[in-house]
């Protein structure tokens, strides 16, 4: 009864094979003469300052967290959408309430000023953290 998943298995194997082959081939075939400026991080010509991962402001985290919450909301809506005809008006209004509550959460996040980028960046420039 696992036959239905054969295509997925093939897809995964193909993806793995492609990824590995790219790395191996480029490593094996490509000319390998490293020198200092080739190995430096590419900063469109300028030499890089600070390490690669210096800290940046918190609003990126808040956006990622919002992504999780709305990803979960979508996950709840999948089964609802699939069986939409069988459910009466009650379920419909309950789901509207569900979506409404999460929408209020979004309004709260918007209002708390974490999304207006210019303010965020102007503040970030003043003090690094």
């Amino acid at each position: 009864m696992l036959e239905q998943y054969i295509p997925i298995l093939l897809l995964i194997c193909l993806a793995i094979i492609l990824a590995v082959s790219f790395i191996v081939l480029s490593h094996v075939l490509g000319p390998n003469r490293p020198n200092s400026n080739k190995l430096g991080a590419y900063e469109s010509g300028m030499d890089p300052i600070g390490q690669a991962r210096d800290r940046y402001s918190v609003s990126f985290y808040i956006i990622a967290m919002e992504f999780i919450v709305f990803d979960l909301e979508v996950v709840f809506i999948y089964p609802w959408a699939v069986r939409y005809q069988e459910f009466g008006a009650g379920t419909f209004w309950s789901m509207m309430l569900f979506i409404g509550i999460l929408f209020l959460g979004l309004l709260y996040t918007l209002r708390k000023g974490t999304f207006d980028w210019d303010l965020v960046h102007s503040r970030a420039k003043k003090s690094s953290y």
């Binding site: 209020l104 309004l107 709260y108 209002r111």
Partner: protein
């Protein structure tokens, strides 16, 4: 879809949930903290009124059996809502004075209370799990409220990591119970006949999860630091509302889902009760910081309540409910007064001896503090005594004499660290430099009402005990 008149059964939870969302929006769009405070108080009062009248209504199950209402669940809702109401009223002055008065506190308290109201009326593992998690997440946030101070955030991290760890055990217990019985409804788990090892492993892990929430001894590591790190009125909220909700849910699980296994989990709770009472009191004796001492005293009280759970009869459960009521009143009061003393920025109150002579400076607060502390010790005219007496009586009826003996000895030992505060308040003279601010009218009125209730139910516990007894069999 459940019919609309089923919504009436969880009306307090709906009101509190709606209030949480409303307060969230008010805070976002109208930054007026006083308006937020008034709305929160208004909605909590309304929900409390409905919950009180639910207590006298009939009880049953709703939402396809996910929720149970009336009787014990309504009384649990009353306990939670009293804790929330007093916390909100006391928090306004306390947070204003300590400079972290922000409106999000009220929305988090309301969301936490929503989780507790669901937890209190859970009749299914799914609603039980969601209730516990909603409550816990709001408490993690509230514990880390005072962010600039180091110890507040440290308390939040410790509480969070140990909480996530205990959630794993709790869910594993639920999974094994579901595996053994094939259904997630508490009453179906009770009808399970062949109790294989999976069932016992599930019971054990579920007990571990609950012991963590009520901070029984081996799992109490988080309590002192979190209670000390959090703002004092939020500590009152954690000590009273969340612990009462966890205990009522524990009663439901023990009486509804695991009635046949009473002998086995009775012994387990017997052991943990002794551990909690002894170690809770011993550690409270050595504490100097009053807030930390009150944290250990709340652990010791969890031990006394576990005596009632170890007894396991319906009479014992109603005795535990009475004890929870008295426990909520006195702890709210005690933490409220400690919060009042912490208003004064200049003085540091980390040591008990800093309380020297303050009893005379603000006589009202001194007297109230002594009422609450005497009630905690269990001295006759107060509700604390009646609670302890009825729990011990129920345990004696079940033949748990050793438990009662340890309980009495532990209470005797607790006299020392409770009265040490009073001795400092009254016997030692204070340096004249300290002048105490007059507490606000609302603040002292709330504390006076709490003290009046403690005395009233100490003197005339009759009607409450009859009401609690009248709950038609918790595990019907």
């Amino acid at each position: 879809m459940e019919s609309v008149n089923e919504l009436v059964t969880i009306l307090p939870a709906i009101i509190i949930g709606f209030a949480g969302l409303l307060v969230m929006m008010l805070d976002a769009y109208i930054e007026n903290v006083r308006l937020v405070f008034r709305t929160t108080t208004l909605f909590t009062l309304g929900a409390l009124g409905i919950a009180i009248n639910d207590m006298f209504g009939h009880s049953g199950e709703a939402f396809y059996g996910l929720i149970t209402y009336g009787g014990t669940a309504a009384f649990g809702a009353v306990l939670v809502l009293i804790g929330t109401l007093v916390t909100v009223i006391l928090s306004r002055d306390y947070l204003e004075k300590t400079g972290s008065h922000i409106a999000e506190v009220y929305s988090m308290i309301l969301f936490g209370t929503f989780g507790m109201l669901i937890l209190v009326s859970a009749n299914n593992l799914v609603t039980l799990f969601l209730g516990i998690e909603t409550m816990s997440i709001c408490l993690y946030v509230l514990a880390g409220l005072v962010k600039n101070e180091k110890k507040g955030v440290e308390a939040a991290l410790k509480y969070f990591l140990l909480g996530a760890f205990s959630t794993g055990f709790l869910l594993y217990g639920m999974a094994l119970l579901y595996g053994a019985s094939g259904s997630t409804f508490l009453t179906d788990i009770a009808t399970l006949d062949d109790k294989g090892m999976i069932y016992w492993a599930g019971v054990a892990l579920l007990l571990v999860g609950f012991f963590f929430k009520i901070s029984a001894v081996p799992f109490h590591m988080w309590t002192p630091d979190v209670y000390q790190g959090a703002p004092t009125t939020i500590t009152a909220y954690m000590a009273t509302a969340s612990k009462s909700a966890a205990f009522v849910a524990f009663i439901f699980v023990l009486s509804r889902a695991l009635p046949e296994a009473r002998a086995e989990w009775g012994d387990v709770i017997w052991l943990f009760s002794i551990l909690t009472m002894v170690i809770g009191n011993v550690l409270a004796l050595v504490q100097d910081n009053v807030k930390r001492m009150l944290a250990y005293s709340s652990i010791a009280h969890a031990g006394y309540i576990l005596i009632g759970l170890a007894a396991g009869t319906d009479a014992a459960y109603s005795a535990v409910l009475f004890y929870l009521f008295a426990y909520t009143l006195m702890n709210l009061g005690a933490f409220g007064i400690v919060a009042y003393y912490e208003w004064h920025k200049g003085l540091d109150f980390t040591e008990v001896k800093n309380y020297a002579g303050l009893g005379f400076k603000q006589p009202v607060m001194g007297v109230l503090m002594s009422i609450f502390l005497f009630s905690m010790v269990g001295i006759p005219p107060f509700a604390g005594f009646i609670g302890k007496y009825r729990v011990f009586a129920a345990a004696v009826d079940e033949g748990l004499i050793s438990l009662v003996v340890v309980g009495v000895l532990a209470s005797a030992a607790s006299v020392y660290y409770y009265l040490r505060v009073l001795i400092n308040l009254y016997m030692h003279e204070s340096d004249p430099g300290i002048t105490l601010i007059r507490p606000g009218v609302l603040y002292s009125a709330t504390l006076i009402i709490l003290a009046a209730l403690t005395i009233y139910f100490g003197v005339k516990p009759g009607d409450l005990t009859n009401l609690l007894g009248s709950f038609k069999g918790i595990s019907y």
